[in-house]
Structure formats: structure tokens, C-alpha cells
Symmetry: C2
Subunit: 392 residues, 2 copies
């Protein structure tokens, strides 16, 4: 029987048993509307309060700084629009990086058509911005700096505390898309001094369709969705109680086990990196040191990433090429281009992302099946034939 190895945990995760068990009562017996004043409603309200406390605690935030959303993308959209509306009098300039998730990048691109000016900071080969370039980019009319905490495609972790300090020293608000970081590496909003921070439950073994935006106390940001006044009037709509409870349980578990998980996951990641870099004409993408514990990302020359992913799928391995969110696209990933890869090289990207649910057996299996697939695909590739002829 074919083995099944899920190695696309930066795309989404299987829910943890803890998260599922926490959710189920709120999908069955405890179905009250948290806005209702009878006991069944108050039960749901108490569950929301407890979830908010858990999430706040995981981020070293206060409960009143946590606003539940329908996911990380909504949180990013909201943060950006809220910052612009709040800071409208200061100006219309925004600073970001060239490797943001589309939830930030496409939102900013739309704003550029609407009178805003956006500076996209370049990154080096590791996916790092230059802090001095950031310092030069932030102007008197800069209202928002939004830079991700960790990249979804190449796993690079950016120095958010330093970035926030520069942004705020010039009077701009600072937002970070921490969707790939929360639950995986320590995230302390006080230490980072972020004004806003986005997270998504399904990236840390919680359910899909729920996330949160941290907003530092004192920033009375405008609402994103208006209606019944939920989330203290900032994000209306009957709360996804089960999803929120599942998110909180998943995050609490992730944070409790983080130290041990990081050791275990990093070991698996490093074995993938060490062994797969033995494949000729392969390269690690992303920062070799400051990278997410679970992200092993590569480019293999003369390979089509899509063919690689489908061949791995045939062997029971789930992996991705570029961002899962845009995997339907044929364009090479903007992140891989930003770190300086040529189009044809970027096409050969592979992202293997493991978490605490993976085992060393999974790594063995990937290391068994992947190299022969690459050999076979290269054997069929005219580009490879050409490269080998030139070499010979």
C-alpha cells in the first residue's frame, strides 16, 4: 500500500485532535448565539471570551486587542484599510516588501489605482530587506509599513522588531502578516511593538475560515464589516463560535509545545535540506539561518514544479510549488523572482513544509521517492539534455 505523507503544512494543516475536540461541542450541543442573553447564548459568549484570552495570552497581548475575523486574508485587508482610514490626514504613502503574500500585495496594488503610493522594498537572495533601505523609504507622508513576519514560500523570517522600530520612529503605523509565524515561532506583540498583526487558524492546526487581527490598545481603528456590533463594533456578524474555539485550542497547544516542536521539526527540515541539496543543480531558497522550522524550499534546475508536485502526489506525497494560494497560476512566483531567480529556474521550485504531525519516517519516504522523480523528469527534459551537452 502506498504511503501518505502530508508535507504542505504552510498551505494548510490537518486539524489537531485538541482543536477538533474543542470545536465539536460548539457544532452540536452548544449552538447558542453569543449575543443572546439566555444561558445557551451565555455559554457561547463565555467560550468566545475564553478563546480571546487564550489567543491574547499566546501573543502576549490583552484580550481586548484581539478581533476575530474570517481568516488571515480578511485580517490583512482590514489592517491595511483601517490604517489608511485612520491615518488619512498624514498622507497616502505605504511601504511594504516585494515578497508579501497576495493578501497584502494585491490589496496594495488595488490601492495604487486609487491614489495611494506604494514603495516595494527589494529583498536580497535570502529574502531579507535592507533596514537602511527601509529607513530611507519611510517618509513624512508614510502612513503604514506592512511587512510579513515570515514568508510563506521560502520560509525567511524577517526582523520584525527592528522593522517596527524604524516604521514607528517615523510616525507610521506598523502591521505584520504573521500568518506563517504564529504557532510556529515565538510571537510577542509587546516585544515586536507591532500596531497590528494578522493570523490564520488553519496554519497552526486549527480550522479553515477563521483568523484574527491583533490591534494594539489605543488604536481605535475603523470597522471592516458593519452590522450587529459584534467584536466591539469592529467586525460584525454572528461569530463562528466553533471555529474560534478551535483556533484558540490549536494555538494554545502549539505554544505550549513550541519549544519541543521546534527542535523536532527543525531536525526533519534540516535533514530534507541536507539530503536534497545533494541533488545536482539544486538550491535552497530563503534564508539559510533565519527560516521557519518547518520550511524546506528548493529550486531544481530544468524541472517544472507542477510536474514535480503531481509526480510526488502519485507517490502519496503532498507538496507545493510556489505559494499554494496561487498554484493554479502558471506565472512564476513573485517571491522567487524577488530573490533574484530567473524565470526558468523559479519554475522548478518545490516547497516541503513539515510540522509536529510529521515523523522521521515521512522524511525517509520523501528522501526515497523524490530524487528518482527529479532524475526521471530531467531525463525527459530538453533543457536538461542541453545543459548536459554543454557541460560535456
Amino acid at each position: 500500500m502506498a504511503k501518505f505523507v502530508y508535507a504542505d503544512n504552510a498551505g494548510t494543516t490537518a486539524m489537531s485532535k485538541t482543536a477538533l475536540d474543542a470545536m465539536l461541542p460548539y457544532l452540536t450541543d452548544y449552538y447558542g448565539n453569543p449575543s443572546s442573553i439566555y444561558s445557551l447564548g451565555r455559554k457561547s459568549r463565555a467560550a468566545l471570551d475564553s478563546a480571546r484570552e487564550k489567543i491574547a495570552s499566546a501573543l502576549n497581548a490583552r484580550p481586548e486587542e484581539i478581533f476575530f475575523t474570517g481568516g488571515g486574508t480578511e485580517a490583512d485587508n482590514w489592517a491595511i484599510h483601517a490604517a489608511l482610514e485612520k491615518m488619512g490626514k498624514k498622507g497616502k504613502h505605504i511601504v511594504t516588501s516585494s515578497i508579501e503574500h497576495h493578501a497584502v500585495g494585491h490589496t496594495l496594488a488595488a490601492l495604487e489605482k486609487n491614489g495611494y503610493e506604494v514603495t516595494y522594498l527589494p529583498v536580497d537572495g535570502n529574502g531579507q530587506i535592507s533596514l537602511s533601505e527601509l529607513e530611507n523609504a519611510v517618509r513624512d507622508d508614510t502612513v503604514l509599513v506592512t511587512i510579513m513576519m515570515a514568508n510563506n514560500e521560502i520560509g525567511t523570517i524577517l526582523p520584525i522588531a527592528e522593522i517596527a522600530r524604524i516604521a514607528k520612529s517615523k510616525g507610521a503605523l506598523f502591521h505584520t502578516d504573521a500568518v506563517q509565524a504564529v504557532g510556529h515561532i515565538p510571537v510577542d506583540v509587546r516585544a515586536l511593538d507591532a500596531d497590528m498583526l494578522s493570523l490564520a487558524a488553519h496554519k497552526f492546526r486549527g480550522p479553515k475560515g477563521v483568523g484574527a487581527l491583533f490591534v494594539k490598545k489605543g488604536h481605535a481603528i475603523p470597522a471592516f464589516i458593519l452590522g450587529g456590533g459584534q467584536e466591539r463594533g469592529r467586525r460584525s456578524g454572528t461569530e463562528n463560535v466553533a471555529g474560534i474555539v478551535g483556533m484558540a485550542a490549536a494555538l494554545e497547544e502549539a505554544v505550549q509545545n513550541m519549544d519541543g516542536n521546534i527542535v523536532k521539526i527543525t531536525k526533519m527540515r534540516d535533514r530534507l535540506i541536507k539530503e536534497l541539496l545533494k541533488i545536482p543543480y539544486s538550491r535552497l531558497t530563503g534564508d539559510p539561518v533565519n527560516r521557519l522550522p518547518g520550511t524546506a524550499s528548493f529550486v531544481f534546475e530544468c524541472i517544472e514544479g507542477e510536474a514535480l508536485v503531481l509526480s510526488l502526489d502519485a507517490k502519496g506525497v503532498c507538496a507545493s510549488s510556489g505559494s499554494a494560494c496561487s498554484s493554479a497560476s502558471l506565472d512564476p512566483s513573485h517571491v522567487l523572482l524577488a530573490i533574484g531567480l530567473k524565470h526558468e529556474v523559479a519554475h522548478g521550485s518545490l516547497r516541503l513544509t513539515v510540522n509536529e504531525a510529521n515523523t522521521e519516517d515521512d522524511i525517509d519516504y520523501i528522501l526515497d521517492v523524490l530524487p528518482p522523480i527529479i532524475s526521471r523528469l530531467r531525463d525527459m527534459s530538453p533543457l536538461w539534455e542541453e545543459k548536459m551537452n554543454v557541460r560535456a
Copy 2:
């Protein structure tokens, strides 16, 4: 042992077994990201496709006209902002009713501060607008008419087909918040000729935190949330696969059983109305004929709705006073004021909403416990004492 009767189904519902059973595999084994190209991802993609077809079929829409959202409130917010952006060249005037849900009403109120003009059509004592007043209200610069299909507090069903015809004859877009209607009464988007229609899963025994916006084919409305390009670029963010599957299963079931359910539910509702109107100084709110099958809504003079709800809760009955979404508020409901009730009378509102999960036993129990509660609360009320003295 105390009986438990849930009679707040317009606030939210317990999930049907069908919906929960449909969801569970997508909370456990089938956790793939629908954007991923491997088989686990394609499984989720197929589930979304199937859900979209079921929801389209339930509304007599096409699958490509259905966009999944995080709930009814998000759908309402999106519809309104999309209409204004799309129709910006025509004008800045919007027509609505004075009994809309806050998801529409508060969104429009915010737009009024932003250069838009809103006409709030008054309603009669039954909660019905005047079609001739609507005809007069729609102007050359009216870009949107948004009027709910059925009211959440008083159960009045509005004549949406006629309203849509008038709106569209004047070149305005027509949106209806059908959150209380879908799954409960026939909703045929072709017969209604609506441009946009909002629905929420948790009102028809689906999960909380998921909804949909119907957008008539040909209207290329702008996106609400930007990012990875999900929902054909209109509403980005990793899809809430389990929630969407649960919503589709719940709606399919509700539509399949609708005829029988309406008979059963109407009978329960009518018994509540007939018996509870025997209480002196009581009044039905909402249209006595064109009303939702499950909504029995009243005002009882010299009663505080909140005390009534809490007293019912002590007897194991879940009910609401005014809209569940604003039950934390002490202001009387804008709907009850719009139908001409005085403040002090509106405060004594009670909404009992039943669905197919209720039984005639539930109605017996409510009819047993409610009249003595009202007597007791009135015996403690100075207003009631005064009224009885005047009468004597």
C-alpha cells in the same frame, strides 16, 4: 427535570445532523487546501464545486453566480459596497427600508457620512413598505435599492419581485438581504430578478461563520477581500471548506423538505399566536398573513422584554426580545419603532421562532410556562398597577 425548548431559531439554529455529518470529513480526513493541485487538494476543490452547485440549485441560480463569504453580514456589506463602486458614475443615492437588519442599516448609515444619500422608506403597522412610495423614491441618481426579503424581528415577508421590478425599471441595482428567508420559504432568484442576494448558513441549520452572496451573471462586481484569488478573485482567503459543505448540505435538506416543513412549522407558529394573543394587552407584531412560517412575535404591555427572556430561560425556554444581534442594547428595536409602536410598548417585545426541529410538545410547554411569567412580571410592575387603576 426541567424541559429545554429552543425557540430562537431566527437568532441561530442547532445544526442539522445532515449538515454536521457532511462537514465532519472535511474537519478530519479531507483537510486539503482547495488551491492545491494534488489529490487531497482536488478533493476539497470538488467539495466546493458540489456545494456551489447545491446552493445554486436551491436558489434557481447558476453555480458561477454563488460566492462564498464569512456570513450574511459580510455578504450584505460586500453587496452594498460593490454596487456603489460599480454604479459610481450614475450617482450616490440609495433606497432602503426602515426595518433592515443592522448589516444593511449600519453600513448605509456609515455611507451617509461619506457623501452618499440614503432614503429610508417607512413601513406600515405590518412592516410593509408602500410600492408607490418606493416608485417615487427611486431617482435617476439612485444606484442601489436594498430591501430585505423577510424581517428578522417581526417575520414580515416583503414583495421582493415587485420591489425588484420597480428598482430595475429605474436603472438601479437591486439587492435583498434574504438571510431570514433562504431555507424557510421558496427563494428563486430568477423569479425575483434580484441582482444580488445574501444568505447565512446558520439560519437554516448550517454552521455559523459562513454565508454566500448571489450575484447575477453579467454583473462583474468588484472584489471585497483581495489576496490569493479564491472565489474567482472576488473573495480571497483559503476557503472554509467544512463550513461551505455544511451550508450546502443544510440548504439542500431544507429545500427538499420545505413544503412539509412549512405546514408543520406554520401550525406550531399559529398555535403560539392564537393562544398567546389571549393574554390581555398583547399584540402580534409583523404582517399577520405575509410572515415567515416560524416567527411568532409579540409585544406585551407593561413588560420588560429582557426580564421576560430571562424568566423563560429559567424555565428552559430560549427566546428573544427584539433582534438577537442587538439584544445587548437597551434601546428599543428600530424595527418595532418603525411599525409605529411607542417606546414603552416596544420594550415588551417577545420573539418565539420555531423550525422543523421543534415539536408540538415544545409549543405545549411554552404555552404552559409563558402566561404565568407574564402575570408575575406584571404583578411586580408599577406601570401595570397604574394601568389597572385607570381601568378600574
